[in-house]
């Protein structure tokens, strides 16, 4: 089997350098003359921060002022997951094996680390209200825990291809959507949180998003993975 060339011929590289360099030069030239005194929307965010229900301005923007962006962003994530699943398990209906055997040292480590990661994740979720953090960060850590368990052979996701998986993937998005629609019914506009319950609603959304993001990230990894043993064999055997 012919491996593809990893690099292009010199002429191509030279030409690519020239033209991408051209783009870069012009780009940098524009970046260097950015207006210095443009305050942007920061003052506006600051002025409305209290009304948003959270103290962290970034979270306020993400979940309240521009919550719609975030809702669509989650849609992208769900969508990518569906796409990946359509390329992987849709045609075989079962997960690939990540690790055939539980590696003793690794699974011990995983057993130790995983609860800690769950804890960290919970903290990140909570901290997002007033400091950097939030659902994505929390979900990433949680998802990493899942991947670790899979790589160590401790947990096998083989059975989880059905409704439970799909529900876990979409639950965050669905909650978000439900909140958005609920707001429409109650307050009259999409994602217009009732002033008193804004924080609660956002926290609820974030919590469910954390679950979904974790499951999504883990399944994105696992669904395309090759068995660890095979990789190991290939590395030993060289190319």
């Amino acid at each position: 089997m012919a491996e593809p060339e990893l690099r292009s011929p010199l002429a191509v590289r030279a030409a690519a350098l020239a033209i991408s360099g051209g783009v870069g030069a012009l780009l940098i030239r524009a970046l260097l003359v950015l207006p210095k005194d443009e305050a942007g929307l920061a003052p506006l965010v600051k002025a409305n921060l209290d009304a948003s229900g959270v103290k962290n301005p970034v979270t306020a923007v993400l979940l309240n002022f521009r919550g719609y962006d975030t809702m669509l962003e989650i849609a992208v994530l769900v969508l990518a997951t569906i796409g990946v699943l359509s390329l992987t398990i849709a045609h075989s209906d079962k997960w690939p094996t990540v690790a055939e055997h539980a590696a003793p040292a690794l699974s011990a480590l995983a057993r130790f680390l995983a609860p800690a990661m769950v804890l960290v994740s919970g903290y990140l979720l909570w901290a997002g209200e007033h400091a950097p953090g939030g659902a994505f960060q929390a979900g990433s850590v949680l998802g990493a825990a899942g991947i670790l368990l899979a790589l160590s052979g401790y947990a096998r996701p083989a059975g989880m291809t059905g409704f439970a998986l799909r529900a876990a993937i979409t639950v965050g998005f669905i909650v978000f959507l439900a909140a958005a629609i609920g707001d429409m019914l109650i307050e009259g506009a999409l994602l217009e949180y009732p002033a008193d319950h804004a924080k609660t609603i956002m926290l609820a959304i974030e919590a469910w998003l954390t679950v979904s993001i974790a499951v999504i990230l883990a399944s994105l990894f696992i669904s395309s993975a090759s068995p660890v043993e095979e990789l190991r064999r290939r590395i030993r055997g060289g190319r």
């Binding site: 443009e38 929307l41 521009r66 962006d69 992208v76 849709a90 707001d183």
Partner: protein, 497 residues
């Protein structure tokens, strides 16, 4: 609050939410995909019509998401253009949905089609309604992501590689766009298009922002010479997907482009660019048509036809610069072209899909005499071809009428020459196929025919083609809708060229 009034007030949100809610539901329930999609499609229809009527009655609508209002929050902006695009998307979407429900024989294997398709639909609606430059980026990503996933759905190797090509191009295009958004925000401090319209200045940053966003969107719109990803992707996708891609998806990025150029940035930003785009559009018309002429596969031919037809859209840019009536004509003509092309092109791809379903291949050589066996499909292809050629009675003709008017009025008659030549070239490739359809069956053609063409497939293609024709004689309501809320530049009154 009575329901009807509530619905009236929430229309912009509802047209997005219906498919957006349907998408995860279709994903959750394995067998729910098809019924949910059909229900969603049928609901989108009245909503889109109501929205268009609302715009026709009330003028431009703004909807403040989260109650914040731009520029802090994100607004939906529904003007004539947006309402038109929503209307077209919902009509074509409905027919594609019906078609797809007959097209995928192995519903289980292609069960992910439905959520992906509903996401695509929702994201198109979101894109057309968005009034925020960054939100448009997210919408673009949603559109691209779902489109790519749909292209790769069959997991045939050609489809996979085409999807990869498409994916890389789409991400790159989005990055260029996003870079432009960053500069825009840095320079003018807002992401809301209406606010930006007031703040825009033709300084270095502003112009660089426009240039970068334009490049990204050109790549996503596949304007010559950036069309490299389009023919393989559109031709190797399942046919309902091809139809959606060619009819709607490329229009999405084009839509942002004209919003940016004509709505936000007046042509005082980078005047030379307008002519460059016009020239590239002209080349696309000729080049795409020539390539279509030499294709051996039906879907490839149709895909190259898209490359050509996209070129027409870009003649809009130089033509609106003339101002006055010419600009108004160019604006409505360009948009009308997008609309009628959407209808006709989806009809063509759906017809090609029926051919594929029957014959198991789409080699033009092998479709001899198909008009005997699948007359509705041949008819659909032919009628759609009328719009491609820009002949009356078809929406394509009305669009060309407006664009030629604009070019004559503005004194830049050479665009008219291109438009006319493009129509003739289109006739070349359309009749190449029709001639085969009407011609003799080669030995074995009949045997290869499985005869499988459900009525849902044949009639939906025909309905779309007929829709494109109806636009040609009864398109006036749409012609009246399109300019509502159009920028003063093209409103046609009181502006001197």
């Amino acid at each position: 609050m009575p329901l009807s009034e509530w619905v009236g007030a929430q229309l912009p949100a509802l047209v997005i939410l219906v498919p957006l809610t349907a998408a995860p539901v279709a994903f959750l329930g394995v067998r729910l995909g098809r019924p949910v999609a059909l229900v969603s499609a049928l609901m989108s229809q009245p909503l889109a019509i109501a929205l268009a009527l609302e715009v026709a009655r009330e003028g431009v609508l703004r909807y403040e998401i989260g109650g914040w209002g731009a520029p802090l929050g994100i607004d939906f902006v529904v003007d004539g253009l947006a309402a038109t695009m929503i209307l077209v998307t919902s009509v074509i979407g409905l027919l594609i949905t019906v078609y797809a429900s007959g097209y995928f024989t192995d519903q289980d294997r292609y069960r992910f089609f439905w959520p992906l398709w509903l996401f695509l639909w929702a994201s198109l609606h979101a894109l057309f309604l968005s009034g925020d430059a960054f939100n448009l980026y997210v919408c673009l990503e949603l559109v691209s992501m779902s489109a790519v996933a749909l292209v790769a759905l069959t997991a045939r190797r050609e489809a996979l590689v085409a999807a990869m090509r498409y994916m890389l191009a789409a991400i790159l295009g989005s990055l260029f766009y996003l870079l432009g958004v960053a500069l825009l925000y840095a320079a003018f401090g807002s992401l809301d298009m209406a606010t930006l319209r007031g703040a825009i200045r033709p300084d270095v940053t502003g112009q660089a922002a426009f240039a970068l966003m334009t490049v990204g969107l050109l790549l996503k719109t596949a304007l010559f010479p950036l069309h490299f990803w389009l023919p393989p992707a559109h031709a190797n996708a399942p046919s309902p997907v091809s139809a959606a891609l060619s009819a709607l998806v490329v229009k999405g990025s084009f839509y942002i482009l004209i919003r940016l150029w004509i709505d936000v940035g007046s042509p005082s930003v980078a005047p030379g660019t307008a002519h460059l785009l016009g020239v590239l559009g002209s080349v696309a018309i000729v080049w795409g048509s020539i390539q279509a002429l030499r294709q051996e596969r039906l879907k490839m031919l149709v895909a190259y036809s898209t490359v050509a037809q996209i070129g027409y859209l870009f003649l809009l840019f130089p033509l609106v610069r003339a101002g006055g009536v010419a600009a108004a004509d160019a604006w409505t003509g360009g948009v009308f072209h997008a609309v009628s092309h959407a209808l006709a092109k989806s009809a063509m791809f759906l017809a090609a899909g029926t051919v594929l379903a029957r014959l198991g291949h789409d080699r033009i050589e092998g479709v001899g005499g198909l008009s005997r066996r699948a007359p509705l499909t041949a008819m659909a292809f032919g009628l759609a071809g009328v719009t491609m050629m820009g002949l009356p009675p078809s929406g394509g003709f009305v669009a060309k009428w407006q664009m030629i008017s604009a070019s004559v009025l503005s004194g830049e008659w050479w665009w008219a020459v291109v438009i006319v030549a493009g129509g003739l070239l289109a006739a070349g490739y359309v009749f190449r196929v029709i001639g085969r359809f009407l011609g003799r069956e080669e030995a074995g053609d009949r045997e290869a025919d499985t005869g499988r063409s459900p009525r849902t497939m044949e009639w939906t293609a025909l309905a779309l083609a007929l829709g494109a024709l109806v636009l040609g004689v009864a398109g006036q309501p749409l012609l009246d809708l399109i300019p509502i809320g159009a920028p003063a530049l093209v409103a046609g009154i009181g502006v001197t060229p």
